[in-house]
C-alpha cells in the first residue's frame, strides 16, 4: 500500500516557481532517492515532506493521514541534515534523547532507546562528548542516531554525505544501506550524486527544474532512460550523444546518417522505426562502457584526443566528425593521441531519442 503520497505538490517562492507539480508515491519500507542537478528542487521537496517548507499547492499524506498542513513534529518524520544540525551545547546522549524527552517518554525507555541506537551506530564511547569533540563522520552517526531513536515513519536525508571526505562517504553510504535493510524503514534521500542514487535506491526520482523527469528503479533508469536528460544524468562517465538524421525507416530497420558513423551510416534493427520518416532528427545515445575497441562490426570511426589511465580501466576521449565521444575500456590499450579508432557497440545498447529528447521506444 502507498505509504507516502505526493499529489501535484507545488512550491513558489514569491514569483518564482520551484516545484511545478510533483506527484509520486512510495511504499512502506522503500528507499527513495531524489536526484538532480543543483537547483532542481530536490531539497525543497524533501523539506516540504518534513514540513519545514509550506506547500503552495497540492496534497501530501503519510501512512494514510493528510499532512499537507501538519506541523513538522506531528508528521513523525526525522531528518538528517547536510550540516548534521546537532545541538552544540548538548552531549551526544542528550542530542539523541532530546526528541524523546520532548515526547515525554519515561527515562528508562529513553535510555534504552539511545543506548540501542548508539550500539547500532557504534558510537557508545562518544555518548558523553559534545558535538564539537567529534569528527565529521562521528557527527553524522549521531545525527542518524537522533533519527533512529525516534522510530519515525519516514527517515529523510538531505545530502547527508556531502560534507564527508571520499573514503568516509563510501563507508557511510554502505552503512546507510545496511541500516535501511536492518530497520526496514521508509527512507527518502536527497543527493546530487548519481552513484549514491544508484547504489542506495529502491527507486529513483530524477528531478529537473521542479519537475519529475523520470521515476524508476536504478536499473530501469539506466536501461530505459525516458529522455536525454536522464540518460546523461544516470551513469558515469556520462552517456555520449550523437545527433543523427534518419535516412531510411522501414518496418523494423533504421538507417541513420552521421559523419562519425563508419561509412557515414548506421544501420540498426529498430521495431519502432515506423514512427520515423527520412529526414527526422534523432539523438543516438551511447554509454561509454558499452563501446568497445575490438568489435567485428565497428559503427563509429573516431580519433583519439587523450586517454586517462584509471589503473584497471582506461577512459578515452575521442572526437568523430565534431562530436565528442567518451569510451571506458578495460585494461590499457596501447594508444596515443591522434590514433584512429574503429569502435563497436552491441545494437541492444544503442539508445534512441527523438528531436525533443524523448526516448524512442520499440
Amino acid at each position: 500500500m502507498t505509504f507516502l503520497q505526493l499529489n501535484d505538490i507545488r512550491k513558489n517562492f514569491g514569483e518564482v516557481s520551484v516545484i511545478k507539480g510533483v506527484s509520486f508515491s512510495a511504499e512502506r519500507g522503500e528507499f527513495v532517492v531524489f536526484v538532480g542537478p543543483s537547483g532542481c528542487g530536490k531539497s525543497t521537496l524533501l523539506r516540504m515532506i518534513a514540513g519545514l517548507e509550506d506547500v503552495s499547492g497540492g496534497a501530501m499524506s503519510i501512512d494514510g493521514k493528510d499532512v499537507t498542513y501538519e506541523e513538522p513534529a506531528k508528521r513523525e518524520v526525522s531528518m538528517v541534515f547536510q550540516s548534521y544540525a546537532l545541538y552544540p551545547h548538548m552531549s551526544v546522549f542528550e542530542n539523541m534523547a532530546f526528541g524523546l524527552r520532548m515526547a515525554k517518554l519515561p527515562e528508562a525507555e529513553i535510555k534504552s532507546r539511545v543506548l540501542e541506537a548508539a550500539r547500532i551506530l557504534q558510537i557508545e564511547p562518544l555518548l558523553e562528548r559534545k558535538p564539537r569533540a567529534l569528527s565529521g563522520g562521528q557527527r553524522q552517526r549521531v545525527a542518524i542516531g537522533r533519527s533512529i531513536v525516534r522510530n519515525p515513519k519516514i527517515f529523510l536525508f538531505d545530502e547527508p554525505l556531502s560534507n564527508l571526505d571520499a573514503d568516509l562517504r563510501t563507508q557511510m553510504r554502505v552503512e546507510i544501506a545496511k541500516l535501511h535493510r536492518n530497520l526496514g524503514a521508509t527512507m527518502v534521500y536527497v543527493t546530487h550524486d548519481q552513484v549514491e542514487a544508484m547504489t542506495l535506491a529502491d527507486r529513483i526520482v530524477v528531478l529537473r527544474g521542479g519537475l519529475v523527469e523520470q521515476i524508476g528503479t536504478p536499473t530501469e533508469l539506466y536501461d530505459r532512460p525516458a529522455n536525454t536528460f536522464v540518460g546523461g544524468f544516470i551513469g558515469s562517465p556520462k552517456m555520449n550523444f550523437i545527433s543523427a538524421t534518419v535516412e531510411q525507416a522501414d518496418g523494423a530497420r533504421l538507417v541513420l546518417n552521421h559523419a562519425a558513423f563508419v561509412g557515414g551510416h548506421l544501420q540498426l534493427p529498430f521495431a519502432g522505426a515506423a514512427a520515423l520518416k527520412p529526414g527526422d532528427k534523432v539523438t543516438v545515445g551511447l554509454r561509454p562502457e558499452h563501446l568497445s575497441l575490438d568489435a567485428e562490426n565497428p559503427v563509429l570511426s573516431l580519433s583519439l584526443d587523450i586517454s586517462e589511465n584509471l589503473g584497471g580501466a582506461t577512459q578515452l576521449y575521442t572526437t568523430g566528425a565534431g562530436e565528442a565521444v567518451t569510451l571506458l575500456v578495460a585494461g590499457r590499450p596501447p594508444l596515443k593521441p591522434g590514433d584512429k579508432l574503429r569502435v563497436g557497440i552491441n545494437a541492444d545498447h544503442i539508445y534512441l531519442f527523438d528531436a525533443q529528447g524523448l526516448a524512442l521506444r520499440a
Binding site: A50, P72, A73, M79, S83, A85, Y87, H89, G99
Partner: protein, 300 residues
Amino acid sequence: MADMTAKPNRGYRRWTPFWFLAPAVATLLLIGIYPTLFALITSFRRYNIARPREGFDFIGFDNYASVLTDSTFWASLGTTARFYVSVLPIQVMLGLAIALLLHKTGMGFLKALARVTLVVPLATTYAVVGLIGRLIFNRDFGVANQILNAIGVGGFDWLGSPRGAFTAIAIMDIWQWTPFCALIFLAGLSMVPGEIEEAARLETTSKWALLRYVQLPYLLPGLTALLILRSADVLKLFDMVFVMTRGGPGAATDLVSIYIQRVGFRIFDLGTASAQAILLLVLTILISRLYIRILYREVQ
C-alpha cells in the same frame, strides 16, 4: 650610487603603529584614565572646594568610612537597586518578546521598519528622554494623564508624588532600553543555525521548548553583556532622572548618581563624592564578574 640593499619604502616605519594608535590612546587617557585616577586620588583626600581653608590633605580611608556610614548613601543605593529590579526584568522580557516576533518569518518590510524604529530610543540623548518624560507625565497637559482621563481612571500628579515619579522614570527607562534588549536578543536568535532550529522543530511543536533548549544557549552571551551594561548604566543613570525629577519628590527618585552629584557639586565635597564614585565602580565590576560567572556560556 644606489643602495641595492635598501628596502622599498612602503611608508612604514617603526613608529608608524604608534602614530596610528596615539590619538585613541591620548583620548582614552584624557577622558577615561586621567579622571578615574584623579577620582581615586581625590577619594583619599579632604577635598571640599567650598572650604579651601581646610586644606587638601590626604586623610586615608576617612572619606570611605564616612560614605559607608552615611545612611543617605545607602538609601540612595537602595533606591537604585529598587529601580534596577523594577525595570530590568520588564526590559528583558519585553525585549525578548519583541525579538521573537521580529525573528518570525514573513512580513519582511514591516520587520525592517520595526528594526529601524527600535534604534530611535537608543539614539535619543538621556536628557532629551528626560524632557520627553516631563512632557508625557506633566500633570496638566501630559499625554499620560490625557489617556488616563480618556479611559476614565482620572489623571494624577505623576512627578509630584513619590510613587508616581518613580514609576515615571522607570517607564522612560523601559522605553529607552527595551529596544536595546530586543536588538541584542534578535542578534542572538539569528545566531542559531537554521538547520538546528529546524531539527528541533521536527522534534517538538512547543515554542517554549525551542526557546528554552535550543535558542536560549545562543542568547546567554548577549544576555550577560546586556545585564553588565545595564547594571553599569543604572548605577550611573543621571541625566534623564535629573531632568525629570532632580531626585524628588523627597528622596523618591534619589538614585545614587544623583546623590553623588549633589555631594560633589552642591556641597562641593569632592573627596567624599570621589569615594562614592570609586565604590560604585568597584560594585559595577563585582556585579559584572558575578554575571559572567553565573550566566556566560559560549555555545560552540
